[in-house]
């Protein structure tokens, strides 16, 4: 047990290096130079360690365990699946640190930012190197809590408000995963990433575990309708945080889901890898994915700010990834294509979305403004930024020759294959919606590009400063990588993704089929052409209608409906919905009947006050009862219940954010019920 070589291994070091360098950064806040070098050194060394793992993982998983910690023991394990994510995360971590070090002075409190950035990295890397679900949860929570500080970095009212939603939903996600883990532990007595299907099958624990893991990780990944934290959090936090969030954090949710579906809920090796009930949930996942991607894309088109557009774009892209995973699950041992497409899109989305967010950050750094009506015409003052943004935008749009094309093509193959296998479940419609979503994606990102870089320049722009050049380095690297993946799409596929398929139990035929995908085939290029043609039409319509400027009459607004009685009728204060229903403070031009937050969560929040109302009232009665018995104050107490009502109801002081959260739980429970019905 005390063998030193057994104590520190590469996977452990990868998460401990950022963890322990974080307090050093904080301690060095008086020496800005060294303090800022530490994140770079830490992330670079993590990246080097990741590279050193490649040959070792090829021979077999790298693992070690510490049974003496946390009662159930912690363990670490790197296998090909986690290696793919590790390479992605550690590479992005280096670039984002470099960007942040140059950028962060613009936002204030640089050392707090860098400290919590390192902690977030540590958490995200820890999720990947974890060898069991307990260790995974440990780092998942670390990531959630420390990234909260990043999200509210600006500390203003809107940031704190959005941060509250972010934090509580993050905690709910953690608790749901915890509950799933406890169920798993109670049933099987172990938490390793090994198949538990044999003991779970047919027991009452099977569906709850499946649902809790999916919803818990789905909250982090931002699947609609669990994405409610994303638009708010993205529009208030600094650009590098959004890059971390899109590039790393929501991907840990995806990683968790893939991990659950490929290990605990599968039989690796012989025969079918899933049972029938999981195959059915694959169909559900496909439709959740399709719904998420379409919803995200349409709403992104309706947004009038950069950050909210990109936030909904992330929701939409997660939809693609979940759809791919759904196909993989739906087709069972034939589903190699879906998983490959999903993983490939994870990588590509991280690259182009990080590029987009960091470019937007650089624009903010240069101009100090992100309002779309104040931007415009930046092509003259910042041509390089325009070029990089264009590369990433075309990447997300799926232009052949850039990275998004390859993964979207594989995902398209996957959905067609799913339809071809079973001819069931209206999957042809899914394929059709896939094309439509891709077209809308091109449209909103093109719209964004046009409004930032084309058109008239607004006011004078300053000179490019020294820090701007440092900011350019990671952006340039990201753009080049996007290009390389785009030009040589098969390289990544063969080197990284194909080797991890066969241990997962996919048939040789299915893997072979993936290996022989040629994304440059005429039909695939044609379908890309179809997407762009459709995008042109939508763009044309949009340029006439201006969806993002649409304003809807107020009587259509859910707010005015639910608040009408409160405003127009003289209600007793404790009944006034106005005091217990939180109002939206962020500006969103989204019509509120389309706003999932309002539509789904507001009524629930209102209902959720009841659990607080009842105990408060009961406590009052009990306390009074005591006085009646002990104190002989019955008359004065009875008076209190007569017409003139005491106005000091505790309820009015209830923390409104708290209510949001309780509402959300109820929402999740409803979601679970819907899940079971399906």
């Amino acid at each position: 047990m005390l063998n030193p070589s057994n104590w520190i291994s590469v996977p452990v070091a990868m998460t401990l290096i950022p963890l322990f360098s974080a307090p050093i950064v904080l301690a060095l806040h008086r020496k800005p130079g060294i303090g800022k070098a530490i994140p770079l050194v830490a992330t670079l060394s993590v990246a080097l360690l990741t590279l050193s793992l490649i040959p070792r993982v090829a021979e077999g998983p790298v693992e070690n365990a510490y049974s003496q910690f946390m009662a159930l023991g912690l363990s670490f394990r790197v296998d090909p699946l986690s290696l793919v994510f590790l390479l992605l995360f550690s590479f992005l971590a280096v670039l984002i640190s470099l960007f942040s070090v140059a950028y962060v002075d613009k936002e204030g409190s640089p050392h707090r930012f860098l400290t919590f950035m390192l902690l977030t990295f540590s958490g995200a890397l820890g999720v990947l190197v974890a060898g069991d679900f307990l260790t995974l949860l440990l780092f998942f929570e670390l990531m959630t809590l420390s990234s909260y500080v990043l999200v509210v970095h600006r500390e203003d009212r809107d940031a704190l408000r959005a941060g509250t939603t972010y934090l509580y939903l993050g905690i709910i996600a953690g608790l749901l995963v915890l509950l799933a883990i406890i169920l798993l532990y109670a049933k099987t007595g172990g938490l390793e990433f090994t198949s538990a299907l044999a003991s779970l099958e047919g027991s009452g624990y099977f569906l709850p575990i499946l649902a809790l893991f999916t919803v818990g990780f789905g909250l982090k990944a931002g699947i609609a309708p669990l994405h409610v934290w994303m638009p708010g959090a993205y529009s208030v936090s600094p650009a590098p945080v959004n890059a971390i969030s899109s590039g790393l954090m929501i991907k840990t949710g995806v990683y968790g889901m893939i991990r659950v579906y490929t290990s605990v809920l599968s039989y690796p090796g012989d025969g079918g890898i899933y049972t029938d009930s999981i195959l059915r949930s694959g169909m559900l996942l496909i439709w959740i994915g399709v719904g998420t991607m379409l919803f995200g894309a349409i709403v992104a088109l309706l947004q009038d700010t950069i950050m909210r557009t990109l936030a909904y774009s992330s929701v939409s892209q997660i939809g693609y990834i979940v759809m791919g995973l759904g196909v993989a699950v739906y087709l069972g041992s034939e589903g190699a294509m879906g998983l490959t497409g999903s993983l490939y899109h994870v990588i590509n989305h991280s690259f182009f979305k990080a590029t987009l967010f960091l470019t937007v950050g650089a624009i903010y750094f240069a101009t100090g403004d992100l309002r779309l009506d104040r931007l415009g015409g930046l092509r003259k003052s910042h041509p390089m930024l325009m070029l990089i943004f264009l590369v990433a935008a075309l990447g997300i749009g799926g232009m052949p020759g850039l990275n998004g094309y390859a993964s979207k093509t594989i995902l398209h193959h996957a959905i067609v294959e799913a339809y071809g296998h079973h001819q069931a479940g209206y999957l042809w419609l899914a394929e059709w919606l896939f094309t439509l979503t891709s077209a809308i994606t091109v449209c909103y990102i093109g719209n964004l590009f046009a409004r930032i870089f084309l058109g008239q320049q607004w006011g004078n722009r300053g000179k490019v400063s020294g820090n701007m050049r440092i900011l350019g380095i990671p952006l340039g690297i990201l753009a080049i990588v996007t290009l390389i993946i785009g030009v040589r799409p098969h390289m990544l596929l063969e080197r990284l993704l194909l080797p991890l398929l066969s241990p997962l139990g996919y048939t040789a035929y299915a893997i072979d089929y993936v290996a022989h995908v040629n994304v440059w085939s005429v039909s695939d290029l044609l379908s890309a052409g179809k997407v762009f043609a459709l995008a042109g039409i939508i763009y044309f319509i949009n340029s006439r209608v201006h969806l993002e400027k649409l304003a809807f009459p107020s009587w259509l607004c859910i707010d005015s409906m639910t608040h009408w009685p409160a405003v127009h009728i003289d209600m007793p204060p404790w009944f006034c919905l106005d005091t217990i229903t939180p109002r939206p403070t962020e500006e969103s031009n989204l019509p509120s009947w389309l706003n999932v937050e309002t539509l789904l969560y507001r009524p629930i929040v209102t209902l959720a006050t009841i659990p607080i109302l009842i105990p408060t009232a009961l406590e009052r009665v009990m306390s009074d009862l005591y006085h009646v018995i002990m104190g002989g104050k019955s008359v004065s107490i009875l008076k209190k219940y007569l017409p003139e009502r005491s106005s000091e109801w505790d309820l009015q002081n209830v923390n409104l954010d708290a209510l949001i959260v309780i509402g959300t739980i109820t929402g999740l429970l409803l979601f679970l019920i819907v899940y079971f019905i399906l």
Partner: protein
Amino acid sequence: MLDAELVKYLPVAAVLLPLVACIPLWAIEQRSAQIRDWFAISINAISLGLIVAMYPTIARGGTIFLEFPQLLPPFGISFKVDVVGFSFALIAAFVWLLCTIYSKSYMEYEPACNRYYPFLLLCLSGCLGVFLTGDLFSLFLFFELMSLASYVLVVHNQTKEALAVGYRYLMLTLVASLSLLFAIIITFEVTGSTSLVSGNYFPAASGLASITFFAFLAGFGMKMGIVPFHIWLPEAHPVAPAGASALLSGIMLKTGAYGLLRVIYQVFGMETVSGAGWQTMLLVMAGITILFGSALAIAQRGLKKRLAYSSIAQMGYILMGMALFNENGLTGDVYHVFTHALIKSTLFLCAGAIISATGKHTVDEIKGIGYRMPVTMTCFTIAALAMIGIPPLNGFVSKVFLSVGALDAGQSAYAVILVISSLMNGIYYLPIVISAFLGGEGEAIGPIKRRFGLEMAPSMMVPIVILSVAIFATGLMPEGFALQLSKAAAQLLLSS
């Protein structure tokens, strides 16, 4: 290695030392406040040392037994230490020592300290006595000592509010004691003995047995703060001085839990309790207590009042754990006693430090306090996260064991209640933490009293820091100590 004969007298010494030391303390405090503080601390430390000295015997699986049948006939006084009592006594003496050290600076500017310290020692004696005695009657004796002595701690400030609250506390304590005495007399009548050694006096549920059980439940439940017996708790805990509130919430509530553990497992036995349907009733009470306490904690504005309601919810966890009747649940239960003692005393001591430095009592008034009192708020944050059950802090471990126990017992609804309650913990603790560190540097608070250039006196800071380190250590490496004891205690209770 201590001589076996000597070991027999350790429990008596640990219990009686604080009791007897009150007399020299009274003499000393007439002369010097400084020596009084140190004397009280050293008595505490010796008591803790005496309890630690029992560890080798307990670790070997032995029990320590000593009786004085000639005292107070017909019951007699006896001391019996097994791993259950030892665990409770150990954490009690440990937290007591830290709280006494904390009180040294906290009480510096408070009036009537000469009354505070002797009663703190009397309370310690009563509390340790409850945990280390071997029969119900001796337990009752020390229970009374503790309850009455703690009344003086509750009303320490002597404000009108404190006296009113104290009256309520005293009345309800009397009700609890009377019902307890009633139950003990019936037990004695039926079986001719109240010793906890033999156990299982009521093989089947009769009418008399149910009356006895409910009388026990009312007596110990009142002390524990189970809904609907909690009515005194949220009033009494906040008005006491911080060191005493930490002990009231962190330790003295556990005497009720300890009593109920003994009653359920050794006086009645699991078969009787589950056969009569009391297990279901206890579980439902626990569920209500958890949700009720948490919901009301959300609605509170006062810092200490919020902590007090949170204690009610946590006592619900402990009641739930003991009603699950399986090893995981009981292990989690005893472990949660450690967990809650450490966490809640940290929170109360931090709250006391904030209140004494700023004079602000409500949650809204202390926005930005993290910039003035970083150490305090860091410890508060650790404790709050532990309460929510964030790994690797100790609250997580107890939550896992309790939930697994609930599932083992086939009561999966209670695992869900635990998760919901964790979230509610987050809802009432995290806003305090967030507003302390984010959203302004607390201009409204004004300058705080600094001592020795620190945010608080070192003798206040050291206990808080030790407690937070313990929260972290017992969570990350529970196997070493607390969890081992909990497991042994669970096995012992289940086998009896």
